[in-house]
């Protein structure tokens, strides 16, 4: 079983729709949870990170962590064509500094 599972299927949504992405993980030692966005031919950039279970909002983005179920989610409200990118979940154990990534979801927002 991989440490971090993210169904890598592409996702196409119309502009203005809600995008829902999720990952599961097997290692309960993970303490910090991140979502990265990667545009074509660029390196990943951090969107959000969370530590505790619950929701964290930043503008149109909401990150959700459920440590008891080992499940994290990212929601993008009012999606825009500029949100078209690959979204990667990642997690880390404090002091280890090794980011463990999911495989990523390619999201296309259609105008």
């Amino acid at each position: 079983q991989k440490e971090v599972e993210q169904d890598p299927g592409p996702l196409s949504v119309p502009e203005g729709a809600i995008v829902s992405l999720n990952c599961t993980y097997s290692n309960s030692a993970f303490q910090y949870f991140m979502w990265y966005r990667q545009y074509s031919r660029k390196g990943p950039e951090l969107l959000m990170y969370t530590y505790s279970s619950g929701n964290k909002e930043d503008g149109r983005f909401t990150a959700q962590v459920d440590k008891s179920s080992k499940y994290i989610s990212l929601f993008i409200r009012d999606s825009q064509p500029s949100d078209s990118a690959t979204y990667l979940c990642a997690m880390i154990i404090y002091g280890n500094n090794r980011l463990a990534f999911g495989k990523g979801n390619q999201v296309v927002v259609i105008p």
Binding site: Q6, P8, Q31, Y32, R41, K42, G43, P44, E45, L46, Y49, Y51, L88, A90, I92, Y94, G95, N96, N97, R98, L99, A100, F101, G102, K103, G104
Partner: protein, 116 residues
């Protein structure tokens, strides 16, 4: 402020050759990380250097090695190249561990290595 820079952008090698990839971290960052992003495998952790020392290593064979220089820049060397080494190699940098529980890793644009 300049971000993480990597060179070269593209590198084409043949099987059995050696590849050297370079990374310059953001000014003030002392930690450098290397990741491999291969098609179908996702981003996988390779190496972490901090203050010139190797701090952690991913599940890769010893022919993947690197070093960090006194100016905190870093080099990744891949010896005896194999076809499956073809991938995007990403470098990231962050502040040193210190007493912070988490330090954001900032990624460069990557070096695309193609092994023929």
């Amino acid at each position: 402020e300049a971000g993480v820079t990597q060179s070269p952008t593209h590198l084409i090698k043949t099987r059995g050759q050696q590849a050297t990839l370079r990374c310059s971290p953001i000014s003030g960052h002392t930690s450098v990380y290397w990741y491999q992003q291969a098609l179908g495998l996702g981003l996988q952790f390779l190496l972490w250097y901090d203050e010139g020392e190797e701090r952690n290593r991913g599940n890769f064979p010893p022919r993947f090695s690197g070093r960090q220089f006194p100016n905190y820049s870093s080099e990744l060397n891949v010896n005896a190249l194999e076809l499956e080494d073809s991938a995007l190699y990403l470098c990231a940098s962050s502040f040193g561990q210190g007493d912070r529980p988490y330090n954001e890793q900032f990624f460069g644009p990557g070096t695309r290595l193609t092994v023929l």
